[in-house]
Symmetry: C2
């Protein structure tokens, strides 16, 4: 080992630096996805981000510059972009960075990387000249990332750059050896103690550049860069220290590059003693840390601070100049993937086509679908596609052999052995399509005028009335999708009385009706849940032509009807029953019913 | 046994008859369903049917009057209503009957049964008076059935009546004993031989009423009823024989009732010797057969043949006057049930709403769907609902997490492990919905202008062009349902060149296009398959503005376009890709595309 160190620290050879290595936590990509989808949309402006690194803390492994969840601003509007980042953690020195996230893979590949790097280097250059880098040395490690987030595939293309100002001629190394060999044992002890203090104070723990002075009595002191004038020329040994993420024994890490540029520019030194500060298992390790002496020369044109020096720093990917790509799809839980995929289609609408789309309104609304047949299946599917997550389906029928071809939630399996209850089979099917849906099935008949009730069934019919009332009260929007006129009667009354948004869809052979009942375009100010609804004698005093707010009530399915609802199924031939419709009608009517629902929720007057 | 027989055959007691029993083969109900659905529609006219019975052939079991598949006319128009029934089978004596199949369960229950019975009895009465019953004695056993066929549930409600003219006062029985006891052994031998001859001749085997004479020398002869005059008064013993389905030893079977009415009306006899002819295992069994003597008196008003006597004969169901019901759903193969259920919805349309609907056209057309995404899934489902059975889906993509919510043939399961190929997953899904579909999946990319082809892929792209050409040639209708403009380009050209009906559907964010390309409204007279299509150099000489028949060609998706198709996916942000559409659009566009297809196929000009 000693021989190796000697060979690496030969006087006069060019000083070479171990590049920074990047690492990105999955949380960063998740937050980026969310930010892009929910807030940024097509905005491609650079995003300020924060990287984290720490001194090397392992004999064999360099530390990385890491992007974590908190590297990005949250997508909720309440928080400021950096509020979350707590300073002072010894293992998370913050570094300012810039993220250029492209809208397309093509622009990711064709972006002018050299110009972006120059732009970032210019900031460093200016911070050096302005003295800002002396005040807040983290800006010396400023970095940038270009990326393309493929939100559909959950794959992320990215490329880091750690801009380093190039010294020309390059620095040469006079001496480079483990700090433990460079210091006397007394000095070493004092240096260790000083470093520990620096690292253990929350005020200084994450300040990665510092000055180390050693008095003739071997006493070591660490100070901020801004204290340079105070130390200079006082006869003490002065070392420029920095947190070195690199573990290599022959090379200092990347942060030294811009540090040398600062020293050269600011203090015009020609010979620099530097300390690559490294730790092992959380403790200062002077055997791993390096001390070296570099000779530096002011490059030509260096004096003109308008002229940014050449810069290097694009990270290599296994030695090649290509970007990296990570796919998170495989490591994600399928249900979570499904949720995010479902949201994706909707949130993308908000980027350009429909910025006013309010997905929260949709996802929080509880929809009650009366009927789980041709219309009910389609409406449920389309509600889910629009982001509705709370769906209750009510039906008392079982899946029959003729259903699956038109009732899009069922398959032949649901018809076997007499058929499953539609309400239950529909819920299972919705969950197979989208596991995060909160769907419920209710197997129940809707009490209907004109259908005689035998004496012994009276109680259960009254029960059904109460259950239906409760269901309507506990939902926000009711869809009437049954196959007879009379089954819409009681729900229509109950919905009107409770001022619920009600949408009816009904099919003929080659005609259909889609309409909205219920409250007119006014805000519902009274809480319907507080109304007394006691069994069948519930007061129906909300059923006047005007609602309580004085607004005019909307009409309903029965408004233009002169015939009272009766049993419409009795004495009907098979072809007069509802399933005889052109197959194309139900999808059209269902789609219009759902689009109407979405429209109503988004209209300023509701 | 002997004692019992004595008690049953006491002189002077009222002669009681064992009622006919009905049995209906499942095949009868299947044919009735088919007839009703495909041919009769809402026509409720009485249907002539044929029942079958045979002499009792078992010691402990009576024979039934059976309805078999061939009891009903076939629903194909080529065959006459009775062509299938071959006369002369000894085990299938035909009996004319009438079926009254109601359109609704209510009318089944409220039908005027007494009047129907009277109507049938009147036919028997008239046949007796006209002498037709002597010529063709089967009309004496004329029967009727009322029924309601619930084609949705595969359940059948029915009720048989075997009209019997009531003698008032009733016939009394003087003697009733096994024929073997009644005949001398010599007579018995000759009777057996005569019966065997009668039953073994195809001319007489199914003639259920006959005359049996026994000469003084014990020689037995069997003759047709019309030969009565020849036998009468020749001093021989004369017995009126009939095939008796009943096995009871104390009662003759039902056919004797109208036989006695005939004898009384026609030949005015007051004392009748009758032979209840029965067999055992196919052979005449005089021990099982009965001979009896009945005394009959002409009832009042019997002479007026305008006045039909009272009639009885509705079959009891386990002793009660209620109809029978059979459900075939459980015994049927699910796939077969699914097929018939699928057909049902469509065939019911033809009853009243759309009599011109040609289901054969639809079921025989081969449809090629280019694209198995949102549009492809919906179009495939709706084609199946319209009765299309041959569907090929082409797609080169895999099911992604965001697909199931909008692409109605997929579930989350199809997305796992990278996702199944859409074309294959769609086929599986179609089969789960309707197992009899002939669906095929083709995983293949459509060659597109503007998408550069690397050198090494040229051959496979040329292959794809050839495959696509072959697919289009081997289908009748092509749906263009892909998500880019350029992927419609080559199919549009190939469809135009091969004069295929082509329907395109395309989605915007809140707009869509559904249109028909291809041949104009003219008949395609040349066989496109005979055209030389050799690889990519296929002659495209059909692409003029006018087609070969001089008719004007229809426009296409690209007709109003001034921009050549290019790669429209490159450099598009996520929200500019196709999935960003209002969820309601795809069902509407797909439905219109399919309805357009159905409309085109049914238009007289095609």
């Amino acid at each position: 080992m000693a021989a190796k160190r000697e060979s690496g620290s030969g006087g006069g050879s060019i000083l070479q630096f171990a590049p920074f290595q990047s690492s990105v936590d999955e949380g960063f990509w998740h937050r980026l996805s969310s930010l892009k989808l929910n807030k940024l949309g097509i905005d491609e402006s650079p995003i300020p981000i924060t990287g984290f690194y720490a001194p090397c803390s392992h004999l064999q492994v360099s530390n990385h510059l890491s992007l974590l969840t908190e590297s990005l601003p949250s997508d909720s509007d309440e928080q400021s972009s950096t509020a979350e980042i707590s300073r002072g953690s010894r293992n998370k020195c913050t570094v300012p960075g810039t993220l250029y996230n492209s809208n397309t893979l093509e622009s990711f590949y064709t972006i002018d990387k050299q110009s972006l790097l120059k732009q970032e280097a210019k900031k460093i250059w200016e911070d050096i000249h302005s003295g800002k880098a002396v005040e807040d040395s983290t800006v010396l490690s400023r970095f940038l990332v270009i990326s393309f987030a493929d939100l559909k595939k959950w794959s992320f293309h990215y490329w880091f750059a750690f801009p380093a100002l190039v010294l020309d001629p390059p620095a040469t190394v006079v001496d480079l050896k483990p700090a433990s060999l460079w210091f006397s044992s007394q000095e070493a002890e004092s240096v260790s103690a000083a470093c520990s203090d620096w690292r253990n104070s929350s005020l200084t723990a994450d300040v990665p550049y510092f000055l180390l002075t050693i008095a003739p009595n071997s006493r070591a002191t660490i100070r901020h860069l801004k204290d340079w004038e105070a130390c200079e020329g006082d006869g003490q040994k002065l070392l420029f220290g920095f947190y070195d993420p690199c573990h290599l024994q022959n090379h200092p890490g990347w942060p030294l590059r811009n540090f040398l540029a600062l020293i050269l520019t600011r203090w015009k030194l020609k010979s620099v003693l530097f300390l690559c500060y490294r730790e092992n298992r959380g403790f200062t390790d002077l055997g791993l840390s390096l001390v070296g002496e570099a000779l530096i020369t002011v490059p030509q044109g260096w004096g003109d601070h308008q002229c940014v020096p050449n810069t290097v720093g694009w990270e290599l990917n296994k030695g090649r100049k290509v970007p990296r790509c990570i796919s998170l799809a495989k490591s994600m839980d399928p249900t979570r993937l499904a949720i995010s995929a479902a949201d994706l289609n909707l949130k993308l609408m908000r980027w350009r086509q429909l910025p006013s789309l309010n997905l929260d309104i949709l996802s929080s609304r509880k929809c009650l679908l009366l009927g789980a047949g041709t219309l009910g299946c389609q409406v449920a599917r389309m509600l889910m596609a629009w982001g509705v997550r709370k769906i209750t389906l009510l039906d008392n029928g079982r899946v029959a052999m003729s259903n699956p071809l038109r009732q899009s939630l069922y398959t032949l399996d649901d018809c076997l052995n007499g058929g499953d209850f539609k309400a239950m089979a529909a819920v299972k099917s919705l969950e197979r399509i989208f596991p995060a849906v909160a769907a419920e099935g209710v197997v129940m008949a809707i009490p209907m005028p004109g259908h005689p009730v035998p004496c012994q069934e009276e109680d259960s019919v009254l029960d059904d009335c109460r259950r239906l009332t409760d269901l309507i009260l506990s939902h926000d929007v009711i869809f009437l999708l049954t196959d007879t006129r009379e089954s819409r009667w009681l729900p229509t009354l109950l919905c009107a009385n409770t001022n619920k948004i009600t949408i009816t869809a009904a099919l003929g052979f080659d005609s259909f009706l889609v309409m909205r009942h219920g409250p007119g375009p006014f805000s519902i100010t009274h809480d319907v849940k507080t109304e007394a609804v006691n069994g069948l004698s519930a007061d129906m005093d909300n059923l006047g032509l005007n609602n309580r707010d004085g607004g005019q009530r909307l009409g309903c399915y029965f408004c233009n009807d002169v015939v009272a609802p009766t049993d419409s199924t009795a004495n009907r031939t098979l072809d007069q029953q509802c399933t005889v419709t052109r197959p194309g009608l139900a999808p059209i009517a269902s789609a219009l019913a759902v689009e109407l629902f979405v429209g109503v929720l988004h209209h300023p007057k509701g």
